[in-house]
């Protein structure tokens, strides 16, 4: 299976990007940046053994950011014809006239451009080698495995198999031209269990950049069934203050808020509870959080958030965001770095429209030494959270209040399922009250986190 993301020859799209740059400069722009994305997607959904949907297509789009000194504007289009490009450039030039001079706006200095070295293992052409019938068969096997675990597994939201590949091109008038291709494949299953108390749904999945790294449909199906069945008969618990253990999936979102709070855009606006906290203690000394845009997974495969360069053409890199409880770095792009009189951390993200934003590469909480069972085993009475719902996270104040479901812990054991409750606290305190970190760090997406245990959260229920 060939793997190669080092693009040797400039593609037609990179050529198009440089042509658009020239047109923008001819139209009077002092600087310009072009991003082109092209992608193919395939997805199928199998439900109760039957194919329900089959979707296959490709699309592409082009985004232009023009600067007239320190004024700027952006345009995007899916129309790559000469007329479409003409309209794109003209539109951007017209729009830039109305924007303000922003002393911090502008492309990065040419000396900062670059790409992380070596083959990052982002593209594997085997993702498209599997015939459609076999993709359907994988999804069907996963669902079948889930539904055959137990007679209470009676229905399903279906199993899907997805494949996607994409090419991203970035070019700017200060000399940067880069491109990379990425592949993705994965499948998931969402079975439904039913007993006298009602219905419950849960799900499980596997995904990878190459078919070789997918788990077996049977493993995924059985895990989905286990997660679904353990929810049956869920009840509410009384309102109380208690210890809360977060499963890796939910711990990842709690720790993802560290990255969001360290976002340079929120920092310069005073819109983050991490504002002014650089080099200060923001968490317990057991907390170290790394952001690494160059992360390699075993087998020479790039992480889900790995890219050679960021949304502005700066090389991605590895850095600690929090090291032993101390906030060490903000996540910065060129604009926010200038606002804060700092240097970009290579965390610019770039969609088609608008100015560069900020995004993490691959982030993770460094694991501890206890097993998840040991972490739970030390809890007399508390909550193990497997799902949260809602929009109750306030990154300005750190206030946290979310709907939750999971399992109640009694004498160190998972005792019974609970639902229709909320958990609440403040992230500033939650990060200091992490009394245990397990050793189960697994990368299933760009962010990863082991099981964690947080003391003293408020649970609202019956």
């Amino acid at each position: 299976m060939a793997t190669n993301n080092a693009v040797v020859e400039k593609s037609d799209l990179a050529q198009l990007a440089t042509d658009v740059l020239s047109k923008a400069l001819q139209a009077g722009a002092s600087d310009a940046e072009v991003v082109i994305s092209e992608g193919d997607e395939f997805s199928t959904l199998v439900r109760l053994g039957q194919v329900e949907t089959l979707k296959e297509s490709g699309s592409r789009a082009l985004g232009l950011h023009v600067y007239f000194g320190q004024r700027s504007a952006t345009t995007s289009t899916s129309d790559f014809s000469a007329e479409g490009v003409e309209r794109l450039v003209h539109g951007a030039v017209e729009l830039a006239r109305v924007t303000s001079e922003d002393p911090f706006a502008g492309l990065p200095d040419a000396s900062e451009f670059g790409s992380a070295p070596g083959d990052q293992g982002l593209y594997f052409d085997d993702v498209y080698s599997l015939p459609v019938e076999e993709r359907i068969a994988m999804a069907r096997r996963a669902e079948e495995a889930a539904l055959s675990v137990d007679t209470r597994m009676q229905n399903s939201d279906g199993a899907s198999f997805d494949v996607a590949t994409g090419l991203k091109v970035l070019a700017n008038s200060r000399g940067f031209v880069g491109e990379y291709r990425r592949s993705y494949c994965g499948f998931s299953v969402a079975p439904i269990a039913q007993d006298g108390n009602g219905m419950q749904r849960d799900w499980w999945y596997t995904n990878a950049r190459t078919l070789k790294n997918l788990e077996s449909p049977e493993e995924v199906g059985r895990e989905a069934a286990r997660r679904t069945l353990r929810r049956l008969g869920a009840r509410r618990v009384p309102t109380q203050r208690a210890t809360v253990v977060f499963s890796p999936e939910i711990a990842r979102s709690i720790m993802g808020n560290v990255l969001a709070a360290a976002d340079g855009d929120a920092i310069y606006r005073s819109a983050s509870f991490f504002n002014g906290m650089l080099e200060k203690e923001v968490a317990g000394s057991n907390i170290t959080i790394i952001d690494d845009g160059t992360l390699m997974l075993p087998g020479g495969v790039g992480g889900f958030g790995t890219t050679p360069f960021d949304g502005e053409g700066l090389p991605t890199r590895r850095k600690a965001i929090v090291e032993r409880g101390v906030l060490k770095n903000y996540l910065l792009n060129t604009y926010t770095a200038r606002k804060l009189n700092m240097h970009s951390t290579g965390n610019a993200s770039r969609g088609l429209a608008g100015a560069a934003g900020i995004g993490a590469g691959n982030f993770y909480l460094e694991p501890g030494t206890l097993t998840p069972e040991q972490l739970i085993g030390e809890v007399q009475s508390g909550l193990y959270v497997t799902e949260t719902m809602g929009f109750g996270v306030n990154l300005v104040t750190g206030d946290y209040s979310q709907g939750a479901s999971g399992l109640w812990i009694e004498n160190g054991e998972l005792a019974y399922p609970v639902e229709e409750i909320t958990i609440a606290g403040n992230l500033k305190e939650m990060y200091r009250n992490i009394s245990g970190i397990a050793n189960d760090l697994v990368f299933r997406s760009a962010g990863a986190c082991p099981t964690i245990r947080v003391e003293g959260m408020m649970i609202a229920g019956a």
């Binding site: 329900e52 345009t75 995007s76 749904r201 929810r231 206030d399 209040s401 909320t422």
Partner: protein, 497 residues
């Protein structure tokens, strides 16, 4: 991604130009090279492998956005997206393919790809086209993009000035005006032929207030299927939204911890209708009920709410964000009663679910774009007014929560559990609204929660035009509404006692 169903306050997305005729389809024929012959060929190709039904969905969207941030116009953008999706149905199966290139070769190739969902000889022919009669719920006019930019700029600058003047503690202001013009042409092999031009605009204000070490945020905004003029004066002015965002932020500076536990809850009118969207709306979408994966499956005709509760979904309201002259399958939208005096009446259906379930099509087939398969979705979902005066409702509460603004909500369709997150709420003590509290998530069970509605106000209001609904990865604009209501018990997820 796990299946997720939710609603949230929209970050600005979205536009206008100078196409001025109500003959919505003309654009596709004159500007994009669509012909009747090409449509027929594509539908024929789509049915060539034996599908029961096929449709084409051609879409052209132009969007613009302009924002003021730190009193500077930092961003201005515009975008164009054109494409066509081809769908083929064969029994319960759906084949789908799309292209962003409308050349005959690419369209026929997409049709060929979608056709492969079926296998067999061609059995359906393409019926003669019958144009769907549609109302005109919103304007399709507007000046040219370039000429409007200055006027949009003025709107966001007005918001910036007003928010800053509101209180010296306001330290950050961001205001964005975003709009789009979406043109659609839908043609089905069953003869359905429809076109529409759908404007969508919104104005958003986001502020930060700071006093000592205490920092708080406030957001406000509004919009709908409107044009620029609707924001320049009247009810949706930048001044009103700016003051509202600033008021909320300053208020939050002094907020105390929200209570935790089960208590009486009063929800204010308008956007708190998010409750309905989550508690019942998603659970009544026909696809979940056809598959029997919804907690509401099989409950038609049964009591799912207090007899004071009547809930409708209405796609036919003028200028509303969730309104549509025609759905994304070419069917006219309508007003559908979901719950009448507490009894579950009906589901929201699209073509596929109506056919497979043998129920009427409620014109609820919607999709995010040409890249997406349509499915049953809400439009504007609201509870009808009752007879109680809002003051009496508050006065009846001994100790409880009065929640008037929400960030968004989410639901688990299968077990019916839902949440919605309050961003502005107060304690009610001895019948009086007292201290503002911090944000808190409220949690409940869909088929049960509305049984605890004991009072319904006479003050129905629709939201300001800010909602976006997410389902299976597809986002569509929606509206919600509600009068003031009282729930005798609901769980409030604060940190206080």
């Amino acid at each position: 991604m796990p299946p997720r169903y939710y609603i949230y306050m929209t970050a600005p997305t979205a536009h206008g130009d100078n196409f001025q005729t109500p003959d919505h389809k003309r654009y596709f024929y004159e500007k994009l090279g669509v012909t009747d012959r090409l449509i027929e060929r594509c539908l024929g190709e789509a049915l060539a492998a034996g599908g029961d039904y096929a449709d084409l969905y051609v879409e052209a969207v132009t969007s613009t956005s302009i924002g003021v941030d730190e009193s500077l116009v930092k961003t201005a953008s515009q975008g164009v997206s054109v494409g066509c999706g081809v769908r083929v149905l064969s029994g319960e199966r759906t084949g789908y393919a799309y292209t962003d290139d409308l050349s005959p070769e690419r369209l026929l190739r997409a049709a060929h790809t979608a056709a492969l969902i079926a296998s067999g000889p061609n059995k359906q022919s393409v019926a003669g086209f019958q144009e769907t009669k549609t109302p005109s719920l919103y304007p399709v006019t507007g000046a040219s993009v370039d000429a409007e930019t200055a006027a949009k700029l003025e709107l966001v600058m007005r918001a910036d000035r007003t928010a800053r003047a509101f209180d010296s503690r306001i330290i950050q202001v961001r205001a964005t005006y975003a709009d789009e013009l979406r043109r659609i042409l839908v043609v089905g092999s069953d003869g359905v032929y429809a076109s529409d031009t759908q404007p969508l605009a919104r104005l958003n204000v986001f502020v930060i207030a700071k006093e000592g070490d205490n920092v708080a945020r406030g957001t406000s905004g509004g919009g709908g299927r409107l044009t620029l003029e609707n924001f320049q004066s009247g009810e949706k002015t930048p001044e009103r939204f700016a003051r509202e965002a600033a008021r909320q932020a300053v208020l939050q500076l002094g907020a105390v911890a929200a209570p935790a536990g089960e208590m009486e809850v009063v929800l204010g009118p308008g956007w708190p209708g998010v409750l309905l969207h989550e508690a019942v709306g998603h659970g009544l979408e026909a696809d979940f009920n056809r598959k029997k994966t919804s907690a509401f499956a099989g409950l038609i005709g049964q009591k799912v709410a207090s007899s004071k509760v009547t809930v409708v979904d209405n796609g036919r309201m003028e200028n509303r964000r969730g309104s549509l002259n025609v759905d994304d399958e070419g069917n006219a939208t309508q007003e559908t009663v979901l719950i009448e005096n507490g009894i579950l009446k009906g589901y929201l259906s699209d073509k596929l679910s109506a056919r497979l379930m043998g129920i009427a099509n409620t014109g609820s087939g919607r999709r995010e774009s040409y890249r997406h398969i349509p499915m049953p979705r809400m439009t504007n979902t609201y509870m009808l007014s009752g007879e109680d005066a809002p003051e009496d409702i508050i006065r009846s509460v001994k100790r409880g929560l009065y929640a008037v603004n929400f960030g968004g909500g989410q639901v688990d369709i299968t077990n019916g559990k839902f949440v919605f997150s309050a961003s502005e709420a107060y304690l009610i003590e001895d019948g009086k609204v007292t201290a503002p509290v911090k944000g808190a998530t409220l949690v409940g069970n869909g088929p049960e929660a509305l049984k605890y509605v004991s009072m319904v106000g006479n003050d129905l209001a629709l939201d300001e035009g800010i909602g976006t609904c997410g389902k299976d990865g597809q986002s569509v604009p929606v509206g919600v509404g509600m009068p003031t209501i009282k729930l005798d018990k609901m769980t409030v997820g604060g940190t206080g006692q």
